[in-house]
């Protein structure tokens, strides 16, 4: 098992962990940041799979812009999720 395969598996594991965090967290700002981390790790995975073009687009749109839009939306509404 080469170092690249280990890195790819590690990045995918971090992606899944960040996605689970985004669902599990009650603080919506922290959940939005976890969703940004999902985009960041996905862009790393694209880079490791030799698609740097897609990686730049994913880092710009998926990691940065959607997180900014989520943060702006949270600023206009409430920060805590309501308990059922």
């Amino acid at each position: 098992m080469t170092v690249w395969a280990i890195l790819q598996v590690l990045v995918l594991v971090f992606t899944v962990v960040s996605a689970a965090l985004a669902v599990w967290l009650r603080d919506l700002l922290a959940a939005a940041l976890a969703l940004g981390a999902v985009g960041l790790f996905l862009s790393l995975a694209f880079y490791l799979l030799l698609a740097p073009d897609v990686a730049i687009a994913q880092a710009g749109i998926g990691a940065a812009l959607t997180t900014a839009i989520f943060i702006l939306a949270i600023r206009k509404t409430r920060r805590r999720e309501e308990e059922e």
């Binding site: 990686a55 710009g60 940065a64 812009l65 900014a68 702006l72």
Partner: protein, 150 residues
Amino acid sequence: MSVVVRTIARMLVPVGLVFGAYVIMHGHLTPGGGFQGGAVAASALALILVSFSAKELKPVKGLLSALESTGGVAFVVFAFLGIGFTFFANAIAGMGGLFGQPVDYGPNPGYLNTSGTLPLMNWAVGLKVLAGLGSVVLLFALFGEGEDDR
């Protein structure tokens, strides 16, 4: 936002804009291009909007709209430059002058001053994407503050 966020944003926004311009400028040589560079530069713009008040950037709205129209029109104009052969034909590649340096066949380290209309179209697309995504985030930030007269 807090002082920490604002200080980091002051440091990171120029870096993001310059990196976006780099990705656009080397679009015909390296991975990336107009869309990717414009998205990176627009994320720097979004960082300004998240860190500081959106009302201070309200006058930029008209400028962004004008820039987006300029980018779209410039793309079509550069495409019409090759109309003597076909639409989108690369008319000024290898003719000398701006982006017109002739290139020999075979591998080379990548010369910036080549490729004819491709870098110009990259700049047009980058300008359009930067202005489009920037105005989307700006309108979203202005929404609901009594300032959304569109």
